[in-house]
């Protein structure tokens, strides 16, 4: 970080010409002032709403803070309780990891596949693009979660379609075995935003690469493996990081589908939902803060893992 800070210095010095040193200095201090003046709203927001709360929540996580009575320092006991006594905590961790592990790669695969098809200069491309993109704008809303409750309900449209081919489907939403799957499907249904990013990435790949490969007799598969994948890897990487962070944050569908409980039998007890219950239903805010910090560490771990592994598979051009 310090290195980054130093790098802006030479630019400031360069503005000082031997002729009008004082004037230049005056102008440059004025510029400094303006810089911080324009940055002020963000700086206030950063300190008051981000940095301050970040440290406050770290502090709360070592207390039994409950909003109403005075809080006591309890050391690590929130953390030890989480990992040794709280079964629901483990359930929420398992539910969320399952959700992330299935929904992120599935929606990446779908978005890449559809983007590659749409990149074929087909007629009506922009129509298809709009249709596939629309669900990702609507998907996070309460309306769609309510709709999902119906679509995968006992007599919902999924079961009606299955009945047409002679299968008697369960009530997906209220079955502990399938409730989470319906939320994964909901996540994958919203692959459109990632698809748009892939589509823009595919456009950036120079056509000559494919032409040259065709001259050398490369087939479809080897073109995909040797040109598309490496050239697109930064975009895959970007979508992967965004996808992981987004999936960990999911809250609305689980809340609406389970009526806020995380049920049936905690099958949809997302980490964020359990955190919400702890903080705002039972007001165990110290405990919730400890949970939030573990979530932060988990997301940081996965993001770092993606970044580190990226050195081996992300190709940033020559």
């Amino acid at each position: 970080m310090d290195q980054l800070a130093v790098s802006s210095k030479p630019m400031g010095d360069a503005a000082i010409s031997p002729g009008g040193r004082t004037r230049a200095i005056k102008r440059s201090t004025k510029k400094q002032l303006y810089g911080y003046l324009f940055l002020a709203p963000w700086l206030i927001g950063f300190f008051v709403l981000t940095a301050g709360p970040l440290f406050a929540s770290l502090y709360y996580s070592f207390t039994d803070f409950d909003l109403l009575t005075s809080s006591n320092w309890v050391g690590l006991s929130n953390y030890t309780e989480m990992f040794t006594e709280d079964d629901r905590y483990f359930t929420s961790l398992k539910v969320t990891l399952t959700y992330v592990v299935f929904s992120v790669p599935l929606s990446l695969a779908f978005s890449l596949l559809v983007a590659m098809v749409l990149n074929q200069k087909l007629a009506g491309m922009s129509f298809y693009r709009s249709v596939y993109y629309l669900p990702s704008l609507l998907g996070g809303s309460v309306s769609i979660a309510i709709l999902w409750r119906q679509v995968f309900g006992g007599d919902g449209i999924v079961n009606r379609a299955l009945a047409a081919i002679g299968i008697d489907g369960p009530s997906w939403i209220s079955s502990p075995d399938y409730a989470l799957d319906t939320l994964i499907v909901l996540h994958v249904w919203q692959f459109g935003a990632a698809m748009i990013i892939f589509l823009a990435g595919l456009r950036q790949i120079p056509q000559d690469l494919y032409d040259a490969a065709a001259v050398d007799g490369a087939g479809l598969l080897s073109k995909f493996a040797r040109i598309t994948v490496p050239m697109l890897s930064p975009v895959v990487f970007f979508n992967l990081v965004l996808g992981i962070i987004g999936a960990f944050k999911a809250f609305t569908p689980a809340y609406i589908v389970s009526g806020g409980s995380g049920g049936p039998l905690d099958a949809t007890l997302f980490y964020t939902l359990y955190l919400y219950q702890k903080a705002f239903t039972s007001f165990e805010m110290g405990y919730a803060s400890a949970m939030a910090w573990i979530l932060l560490l988990i997301i940081a771990f996965f993001t770092t893992l993606t970044f580190v592994s990226g050195k081996y598979w992300v190709h940033y051009g020559d």
Binding site: W42, P53, Y132, Y276
Partner: protein, 285 residues
């Protein structure tokens, strides 16, 4: 020439296959939405029995029943949502563009440090801030008001949009603001008279996404709004589901459909900008 003539029919088949696949996919993607709209005008007993999307019997009363179905009218919820989303848009457009201008064009100490910090907040899960922010706003006496949902937007807390506008400003020719500076324009004038007008596409993208995200928001509204008179559409729908629930799917789906309309209209009007907005921020990330 003869080779291309021979290739063409062979290429037609895969192309048709792709269209068939894309159309099938589009139907699967859109079917739940279309089903929702059609069910919203069906009588309750036909929602689950009538397979066709085209309602045999129109029951528009679903809309009027739903509108006033839970004591407080959905008019209140829509108004509240519109006020919150509009204020969020104004806040985000102003504060994020000012911040982005500082990062993209002004020179000041520790700029790269602050820029890196700003980028890091992009990755921060908001849940870590939930409890302390709640305590903070509670101490301000802001609970059960729109302030916790709108004031943060005026302090550029949405780093995503700062980044989007920074990328856009970096693409603008520097000569324009340099010429203005030569003529003695202050940074404020450069920002307001040159950068802002040129940034309109990025600002519109910011405005639309802010509106949609704030409209679809649920978690923070759930935490901060307690009295039904202050409820937004998201909270109104949840209340509807809890109080009337399964017994009246028609009105329930009618209100859910209405709730999607503002987002859908924005999508129809601005889809090109939305698509470009995602594509550019995504690529340059």
């Amino acid at each position: 020439m003869s080779t291309t003539a021979r290739i063409r029919p062979a290429r037609l088949a895969p192309r048709l296959l792709m269209h068939a696949g894309l159309i099938a996919g589009a139907i699967v993607m859109l079917y739940p939405l279309l089903w929702m709209v059609s069910s919203s005008v069906k009588p309750n007993n036909q929602i689950f029995t009538d397979l066709s999307l085209w309602p045999r019997e129109l029951r528009l009363e679903n809309y009027s029943d739903g509108w006033s179905g839970i004591g407080v009218s959905f008019r209140t919820f829509f108004l509240n949502s519109f006020v919150i989303s509009t204020l969020s848009v104004i806040g985000n457009v102003l504060s994020c563009s000012i911040t982005a201008y500082a990062f993209a064009r002004l020179e000041f100490r520790f700029k790269s440090f602050w820029f890196a910090v700003m980028l890091m907040t992009l990755m921060l899960p908001l849940h870590v801030l939930l409890v302390p922010q709640y305590v903070l706003f509670r101490n301000f006496g802001w609970l059960d008001s729109i302030l916790p949902l709108t004031v943060p937007n005026f302090l550029a807390t949405d780093a995503f949009f700062i980044f989007l506008i920074v990328q856009f400003i970096r693409g603008l020719p520097r000569e324009l603001d340099q010429a203005a500076e030569m003529d003695g324009a202050s940074p404020w004038q450069v920002y307001w008279q040159i950068i802002v007008p040129l940034c309109v596409p990025a600002l519109v993208t910011t405005a639309i996404f802010t509106f949609i995200w704030s409209w679809n928001d649920f978690l923070s509204q759930l935490i901060y709004l307690n009295s039904v008179d202050n409820y937004t559409v998201s909270l109104g729908l949840r209340l509807f589901l809890d109080s009337v629930g399964v017994s009246s799917w028609g009105p329930m789906l009618a209100m859910s459909t209405l709730a999607l309309i503002p987002v859908f209209v924005l999508f129809l009007l601005f889809q090109r900008l939305l698509v470009e907005g995602i594509a550019t921020t995504g690529l340059k990330g």
